[in-house]
Amino acid sequence: MLVAIASGKGGTGKTTVAAALAAVWGQALLRPLTVVDLDVEEPNLHLFLRPVIRRAETACLEIPVVADPAACSDCGACRELCQFGAITVMAGKPLVFPEMCHGCGGCLAVCPTGSLTAGSRELGRIEEGTTGLADYLAGRLRIGESQSPPLIRAVLRRLAAVADPEGDVILDAPPGVSCPAMTSVAAADVIVLVAEPTPFGIHDFLLAVEAFTPLGKPMAVVVNRSSDGTPQLLDLCREHGLPVLAAIADDRAVAETYARGGLLPDVGAHYRAVCHELARSITVFAGETAHA
């Protein structure tokens, strides 16, 4: 089972929930877990899980390189094909803008001459290791790289190659509802939306529900910083048919533990029980919706 922890608004507690689940999953469910930081623009799961990194690799995107400018026939096929303006022909020679390329390979396919050849652009790094309780995988976008979905997809390909087929996966997704978040949640079997009952939190929660519902995946909610606005949020969850699997109180002790880099189950026995119960209820929810 692959569970994406997502949210509309950033800072609602995705990493808090993902790290908490990573800490209790094995004990609560007796199943192996791989935890994945897909928020490649600003990965932070490692701050809480402190993994030992055993392997790191550079991820690259295939982009065109001008191998033989003189061979260009000035036909313009590459320029006409590219939807991102990443290649043009100037003074009879191809001109590539590497940072704009999305790596589709179309220009290389349509070029009738040998003017272009395949090169690469570094997207970032993929790190693998262990937290002691779970396997750990993360992407880290190269500073200056503007596209994160290609790296997210590279991390997911690596996950498919290394994850225990008998085990589960927790994906700490990027915030928001744009391509990085969609790329991440689209890979999951189950989506858990972390939402906070503030006006901003509720607004962006509804955006996430709107964006992710068409994916047709089972989706449930964890309320974080539960407070006066919670009844309104719970009403909205009912309206959208989204079960609420856990509510984490707006508690100073949680914030203090987080600020020290601690984990939610370590705040106290009550929170440990909440985390265990959440791990179990996610699997039950996923099982129910799989058979529904």
Partner: protein
């Protein structure tokens, strides 16, 4: 061969203001040595999410211009213009197209 000067412009005539933008300028007035003008509408750039400057550079080069007068030219457009051999003069945004061309020519003659 006649030297053609392209000016990013808010309209089609010499009395229109220089458009401070390059890639997403309203259009380009192209002036030759005889003072004949030609207008390239650039309205299509508004609909482009990416690469407006690169496409504008290509169209100007295709029209035969070897000099561009504009406000600010972005880095990708600048490398496209350089590849096409188009000289770039920035900072012309407070002038009309006619004034910009006159000022450029005065500088060339000096």
């Amino acid at each position: 061969m006649s030297k053609k000067i392209a000016v990013s412009s808010e309209g089609p005539t010499l009395s229109d203001a220089v458009d401070p933008r390059f890639g997403r300028a309203a259009g380009f007035v192209i002036v030759d040595d005889a003072g004949t003008t030609q207008y390239l509408d650039n309205g299509g750039s508004q609909a482009m999410a990416h690469g407006a400057g690169i496409e504008a550079a290509r169209r100007i080069a295709e029209a035969g211009a070897t000099v561009l007068l504009s406000g600010v030219v972005g880095p990708k457009a600048a490398s496209a213009l350089a590849a096409a051999g188009v000289a770039v003069v920035e900072g012309m945004e407070s002038l009309t197209v006619g004034e910009a061309v006159a000022q450029y020519r005065a500088g060339q003659d000096a």
